[in-house]
């Protein structure tokens, strides 16, 4: 169970999205964002969250969250290799490969 109920927050006036939020989220999403872009994104996001906030007016106490359109359990399969080796095919379209490995900038000096 969820330790606390989200609906308790419904009455709290959430702070409008700030430029700091936008930069924090852009960092989390690994998106470089220049100051002008961040300003514009902030303004648009405020508009969109204005729309989204309509959700908070409706009580949902005791409602089971719906994660999926079909009530189904994920299938299990035998632990066997079913895919053919496609490494060469897949690496042929990679930006940079060497000796069958994907190359990225050095992480550890």
């Amino acid at each position: 169970m969820i330790p606390y109920c989200a609906d308790n927050f419904a009455s709290i006036e959430r702070m409008a999205i700030s430029l700091v939020d936008v930069k924090r989220v852009a960092h989390l999403a690994r998106l470089e964002i220049d100051p002008a872009e961040a300003e514009q994104a902030c303004e648009r996001l405020r508009g969109i969250f204005g729309l989204i906030e309509a959700m908070q007016a409706v009580p949902t106490d005791g409602v089971e969250p719906m994660a999926h359109a079909q009530e189904m359990a994920l299938r299990l399969r035998a632990d066997q290799v079913t895919e053919a080796d496609g490494r060469e095919l897949f690496q042929a379209i990679a930006p940079q490969v060497e000796d069958g490995l994907y190359l990225v900038p050095k992480v550890i000096e």
């Binding site: 989220v25 690994r30 998106l31 996001l45 989204i52 079909q70 189904m72 994920l74 042929a92 379209i93």
Partner: protein
């Protein structure tokens, strides 16, 4: 190849508006070959298509190789319903050897090494890929203006948008650049462009068509479906597309169906549910009139109407703009410039490579949705947004369960207005999002929905009637649409300039 008679131009002109059944009959009778059909539509794409920008890729050599193989199947007497038929595929479906961009710079160099399940099924059926259609970037948009490849134009009025995200597929079928096309629908991306371009389009029940190889936007909502002029053609296409696929963990294991089995059934006694919320404030008068006229036709066909209620539908746009971006932000994290797709040319270290690659590869709308999604999933906000939206999703879905206790099928408008102009809503995401107000709830509930041509509104732009069925009732919806198309001719209209 020995043909009975060389097909002249008149024969090919007849192919322009032929149904899939008629095309198959012509192919079987050797009145026309698959190669000739492919050449005919490729020529239309090249000449008439240039003004619409409906295609991202055409590859005549590949298409004609498939057509030659189809002609061999026909000659050997092993043709199926779609063998030799040209099909345009939305550029969201991975197709081996084809550039598969999803409308994004991020994948502008991605030649797919494998086939999506949907592509595999069409290929196995002997259909011919006539091209990959333009779309909103990563299917995020309702006007086709977010495509890296530029907007698609509406064949009925090139100042108007075709709708989105499957705008290229809808425009291609409307302009007869392909007899039929495929699309995907996460919040209305088949039904809305079908309505705005005056063609028929169907989003099946979630789980009926495999999502394997279909580039993911919001995995709990995405579903593939067909575009065609007629309901009968949609049924034949769904017969090819639907079915279990172990490679998609949400693909449903169900017995195969013939979706055309009920087309001719009379509609007498069918209870049509009309949700009051579909006819409330915000519905343009021209759309309201067209939908009312369509419902009057159904009454003449013996249907009864009942009022139903979908009280939580008004929350579907807010809920969708939490859930879909949340899922998108997760799905799109795979685009990092390491294994495929775009990689920035200059960067200082690995983190900088990710940031620059993604900043360059994604367009403004996609970035916006990644930011929204990351925000609603971030620490401290998850419960207030994501979990709240999931709870409301259940309330929205339950409304439909209640409604279907009183009726067999639900009808209403597909869109609040006819096609808007290019640029009209491009700078205002909220207005753009609200244009999907009637379609989104269906995806949240996982129900099947379709749009069929129902007339013309302001500026002589097409309008659609939305038909929503209960889970797995696609055959019944196609029956309803087919019967409507027996007594109306909206679906047979061709945009001026594309009729020849």
């Amino acid at each position: 190849m020995a043909t009975a008679a060389a097909p002249g131009l008149p024969t090919l002109r007849q192919m322009l508006n032929a149904t899939l059944k008629e095309l198959a009959a012509q192919l079987a009778a050797r009145k026309v070959s698959s190669v000739e059909l492919a050449q005919y539509f490729l020529k239309r794409i090249e000449t008439l298509g240039s003004q619409l920008n409906a295609f991202i890729s055409v590859d005549p050599e590949r298409s004609l190789a498939q057509a030659r193989a189809a002609d061999a199947l026909i000659a050997a007497g092993s043709a199926q319903a779609l063998t030799g038929i040209p099909v345009a595929h939305k550029d969201i479906f991975c197709a081996r050897g084809w550039l598969t961009t999803c409308g994004s710079r991020m994948l502008s160099n991605f030649v797919s090494p494998y086939d999506a399940h949907v592509i595999e099924r069409y290929n196995q059926a002997g259909a011919v890929i006539v091209g990959k259609t333009n779309m909103d970037e990563f299917a995020m948009g309702s006007s086709n203006e977010t495509s890296y490849y530029g907007p698609v134009r509406n064949p009925w009025d090139t100042a108007a948008v075709p709708g989105g995200s499957s705008g290229g597929s809808a425009a291609a079928v409307a302009a007869r650049l392909a007899p039929v096309a495929t699309g995907t629908d996460t919040g209305g991306s088949i039904r809305q462009p079908a309505a705005l371009c005056g063609v028929s389009g169907l989003k099946p029940t979630y789980g009926v068509v495999s999502r394997y190889g279909m580039i993911a936007f919001a995995s709990s909502l995405d579903q593939a479906g067909p575009f065609a002029r007629t309901a009968e053609d949609l049924a034949l296409m769904l017969n090819v597309m639907a079915g279990f696929d172990a490679r998609d963990s949400t693909s449903l294991e169900r017995a195969p169906e013939d979706y055309s089995r009920a087309l001719t059934r009379p509609l007498k006694g069918l209870r049509v549910g009309l949700p009051a919320e579909f006819f409330a404030e915000g519905l343009a008068p021209d759309v309201a009139r067209a939908v009312e006229a369509a419902i009057a036709e159904f009454k003449k066909l013996g249907c009864e109407t009942v009022e139903v209620k979908l009280p939580n539908m008004r929350l579907s746009v807010p809920v969708y703009y939490v859930l879909a971006p949340a899922e998108a932000s997760s799905n799109l994290s795979r685009f990092d410039g390491v294994r495929y797709g775009h990689r920035a040319s200059e960067y200082t270290d690995l983190a900088d490579m990710y940031r620059k690659t993604r900043a360059e590869g994604f367009g403004a709308e996609v970035k916006r949705r990644i930011l929204i999604g990351t925000y609603v999933l971030s620490a401290g906000y998850y419960d207030a947004y994501y979990l709240k939206a999931q709870k409301l999703r259940r309330l929205i879905a339950q409304d439909f369960v209640e409604a279907f206790k009183k009726c067999d099928i639900i009808m209403g408008p597909t869109t609040p207005t006819a096609a808007f102009n290019l640029g009209e809503k491009a700078q205002d995401p909220v207005q753009m999002y609200l244009s999907d107000i009637y379609t989104i709830a269906v995806n949240l509930a996982g129900l099947p929905g379709m749009s069929i041509p129902a007339g013309f509104g302001a500026g002589n732009r097409p309008l659609g009637l939305q038909v929503i069925g209960n889970y797995f009732c696609e055959a019944q919806m196609l029956n309803v649409a087919h019967q409507f198309q027996q007594v109306t001719d909206w679906h047979l209209r061709t945009p001026p300039g594309f009729a020849q």
